[in-house]
């Protein structure tokens, strides 16, 4: 599928990282085996077949439908996989990714995914093997620091809590711990113990996390110091307001476009 990268305002490295996440131009930092990922997700036993909810599409005799002719099924849909999820929590303390940019990454770069975005968690639902493909790419990449982000199906408030002494994001269910300098996961997404230790690798250093992060913070790149992003937000607000009121004036009076120019405070 041909894809043209999305663009995003801002000159700082935070803005650059946001553009990278959106376009999928992200660096792979670690390897997590397929079986380890399956165990951590907790949906099926490693090595087990994918449970299905319908026969393979080729065996179903689908109706003559122009949409079906245009859209090639994803591997999971073609096989009849059930819909399952992966859900990440990202710490506010300079975790590499943030919920909306995880969603943009998933929606722009993968097919058949259903991202959901909240403050403490970001979920992707998809056919099981499609979800695993997307999750694996995410967890192995620079979008994820094993200490500052994690697979969490529930109790996600750790995203805004102070970090633990060892630098791990707080987790009520203690799904991960430090062992030999690496982050080890021994519970699945919802906190059920698994029969293996999944090695997620070393945490990012503070400096590396700040270099790779996509969040604006006073101890990193200050939001206040990114005027292009602020002006972009002001423009969105102005246009949404005016298009509901007098749409014919929205473009001509927009900040930076028409006679009204907003200066960032």
């Amino acid at each position: 599928m041909a894809y043209t990268p999305q663009y995003y305002p801002g000159a700082s490295h935070v803005a650059v990282n946001r553009r990278k996440h959106m376009s999928g131009d992200i660096e792979k930092l670690r390897t997590v085996s397929d079986d380890d990922l399956v165990a951590a997700l907790g949906h099926r036993a490693p090595g087990a077949d994918y449970p299905s909810i319908h026969p393979p599409l080729k065996e179903m005799g689908e109706p003559d439908c122009p949409v079906r002719q245009m859209v090639e099924p994803t591997p999971g849909a073609a096989a009849g996989d059930r819909v399952r999820y992966s859900q990440f929590t990202d710490s506010m303390y300079s975790a590499p990714s943030i919920p909306y940019f995880r969603s943009y990454y998933a929606a722009i770069n993968f097919r058949g995914v259903d991202p959901g975005t909240l403050s403490g968690r970001q979920i992707v639902e998809a056919r099981e093997r499609d979800m695993e493909e997307q999750c694996k790419a995410t967890i192995e990449s620079e979008m994820t620091c094993p200490a500052l982000a994690g697979l969490r199906g529930c109790t996600v408030h750790g995203h805004s809590l102070r970090l633990a002494e060892d630098g791990l994001m707080f987790d009520m269910l203690q799904r991960t711990h430090m062992e030999g300098g690496n982050v080890i996961e021994d519970k699945d997404q919802v906190g059920v113990p698994i029969d293996r230790k999944v090695n997620l690798g070393k945490p990012m250093s503070d400096a590396e996390a700040k270099k790779r992060t996509t969040i604006y913070r006073t101890d990193g790149v200050k939001y206040r110091d990114e005027p292009e992003v602020l002006d972009h937000v002001h423009l969105v607000h102005h246009r949404r307001t005016m298009y509901g009121y007098r749409p014919e004036t929205a473009a001509e009076t927009a900040p930076g476009v028409g006679p009204v120019t907003y200066h960032t405070v």
Binding site: I98, G116, S119, L163
Partner: protein, 561 residues
């Protein structure tokens, strides 16, 4: 008002109390995982659960059920400081089930109806040729205060309610006619001149009312605990009709009684909240029909402290968040206990106060007096940007503050409310203030790449489009929007703040009321069980178990429960 934002953040005192001995700016902490036993209230709950189970022979509350044995308290269970008060309370005591003051606040609204007297007086005078005088009105007030609690007045051998069970029920009169007010026995009168003695508020209210006369009717709390809010007008109208019959020596069966009943039930009745459409299926006087303007008018801080518009505004926020979030959305519409967490963020730990006073100081310096800033999008943009950036920086600089508001919805509601309330006070215009709300939401989402729960993707992303548009079912002035306004009907963390935004505009203008002067006068009455001029203080009393509610049944049940 001359105001200077203090050199130390206002919320710091609360954080010091909550996180005693810890560095408020430290990003790391040692998690002790002490469990539920660290908290006195949780221990009390666990013991109570064990007693209940033993008494009834069936398991009840057991903290060990939580998360498969991972009990509450894996982090520090911190208390809450009720904003602007010195009172520190347990979070559990801010759930309305545990807080009788919160219950009474809603009871006092639900059991209230305002009924005009002029239509009835015209019926008596013009149709029946009876004379209505201050003396006859006083006689009627005596009759109605006898019968409104549930006493018989024109029929022998009737059952009646125990006066001790309904001691909170009464009817008072208020009027824009000073001469008439002076001639009625003062026990029956809500004295507008005395209660609204600041900034010419009494004159504003009387000018809006004209020389009309109204009854503030409060039926017994125990009645609305058994029946829905729609019962208030019926209970009230029946007793009003009987009282007119008794006071004016009418025939109980004459046709004019129907006119009196129609006036009391419909033509002259002001419900506190409108009936909801069938899909929500709620009667009048239920919270879903309560407009933001009425909610703001029920709160009375503007009457006693008009020189502090931030305080006036945030008392309304506290009133609205408890009512709309904790009771309406949290129970009527959803169920569960989670909604309390959204609401408390707006009235605890002085956080919203800090953000709003910061904005107030900024606006005063930039635009001058309250209500004087230009009513345009540039003002909303300017104020919302500064207030939101400041608030985000506070969360970043004080990790314990971020931990206190551990959900994005809490942060979103508080930051947007501070932005909007600042703008309302500065401009005196609720629509411009509302625009600032949406600006704050956009800025928050873009800066941190997260906002609140899914609902924030709905109304907070599309809401700016109907700030100025008044197309039917899409837009309306904020005073007349309410909990069932289309985009607002399902989302926690918003409605109480909208009521506060409404107040902010009128506090900025130093108005005596926001939407309806009758509502304002009715809830000014110091005889009400809940004190609507000190909402947060009343919540604290409820949490500390010093608030005495109405509607108790101890007179008619065995002692020693």
């Amino acid at each position: 008002m001359a105001y200077k934002y203090p050199s130390e953040k206002i919320f710091v005192e609360a954080l010091k109390a909550k996180f005693a001995g810890l560095d408020l700016s430290e990003q790391k902490v040692r998690y002790v995982r002490a469990g539920y036993v660290q908290n006195a209230r949780k221990r009390e709950f666990q013991a109570a659960g064990e007693r209940v189970a033993a008494q009834r022979g069936m398991q009840q509350y057991d903290v060990n059920i939580h998360c498969g044995g991972m009990t509450l308290g894996q982090r520090q269970l911190v208390p809450y400081k009720i904003s602007t008060t010195p009172d520190i309370v347990e979070g559990d005591d801010l759930h309305y089930v545990n807080n009788p003051a919160m219950q009474q606040m809603w009871d006092d609204i639900k059991r209230t109806i305002i009924v005009g007297m002029d239509l009835a007086h015209e019926t008596l005078e013009k149709r029946l040729g009876k004379e209505v005088t201050p003396e006859s009105i006083a006689g009627y007030m005596e009759a109605v205060n006898h019968t409104m609690p549930g006493a018989a007045i024109v029929q022998e051998h009737m059952v009646e309610t125990h006066p001790g069970l309904v001691d909170d029920c009464y009817v008072k009169l208020f009027t824009g006619d000073d001469e008439l007010a002076d001639e009625i026995d003062s026990q029956y009168v809500i004295n507008i001149n005395d209660l609204f003695d600041k900034e010419g508020q009494a004159d504003q209210i009387k000018a809006a009312m004209g020389k009309t006369t109204w009854q503030a009717v409060h039926i017994p709390t125990i009645v609305v605990r058994c029946c829905d809010g729609g019962n208030t007008s019926r209970w009230s109208a029946m007793q009003i009709g009987m009282s007119f019959i008794a006071a004016y020596n009418m025939c109980a069966g004459e046709a004019a009684v129907a006119d009196l009943a129609f006036a009391a039930k419909h033509a002259a009745a002001v419900q506190m909240a409108e009936m909801l459409p069938a899909r929500r299926a709620r009667s009048p006087n239920e919270p879903g029909g309560l407009s933001f303007g009425y909610c703001a008018d029920m709160c009375q801080t503007q009457r006693i402290a008009p020189d502090d518009p931030v305080r006036c505004t945030l008392e309304v926020v506290a009133t609205g968040t408890m009512l709309y979030d904790q009771i309406w959305l949290g129970s009527y519409m959803s169920g569960g206990v989670g909604f309390t967490q959204y609401a408390t963020a707006a009235y605890t730990n002085d956080v919203l106060d800090d953000f709003t006073y910061y904005g107030y100081d900024y606006a005063l310096n930039k635009f001058g007096d309250d209500g004087s800033a230009p009513n345009d999008l540039a003002t909303a943009t300017d104020l919302a940007t500064e207030v939101t950036l400041n608030a985000m920086e506070c969360y970043e600089d004080y990790p314990t503050l971020l931990e206190d508001h551990f959900g994005g919805s809490q942060r979103a509601g508080v930051m947007a409310a501070a932005s909007a309330c600042t703008t309302g006070i500065a401009t005196g215009n609720a629509q411009v203030a509302l625009s600032a709300w949406y600006m704050s939401m956009y800025l928050h989402k873009e800066g941190w790449g997260r906002l609140g729960f899914f609902g924030y993707d709905l109304q907070d992303q599309c809401g700016a489009t109907n700030v100025c548009s008044y197309q039917g079912d899409e837009g309306c002035c904020l005073e007349l929007r309410g909990a069932n306004y289309p985009n607002y009907a399902m989302n926690v963390g918003h409605q109480g703040e909208y009521a506060g935004i409404t107040q902010s505009a009128h506090s900025g203008n130093h108005d005596a009321y926001c939407c309806n002067p009758l509502i304002k006068v009715c809830f000014a009455d110091p005889a009400l069980v809940f004190d609507f001029s000190h909402t947060r203080k009343e919540y604290a009393r409820g949490a500390m178990r010093t608030f005495r509610p109405a509607g108790e049944r101890s007179l008619v049940i065995p002692a020693g429960i």
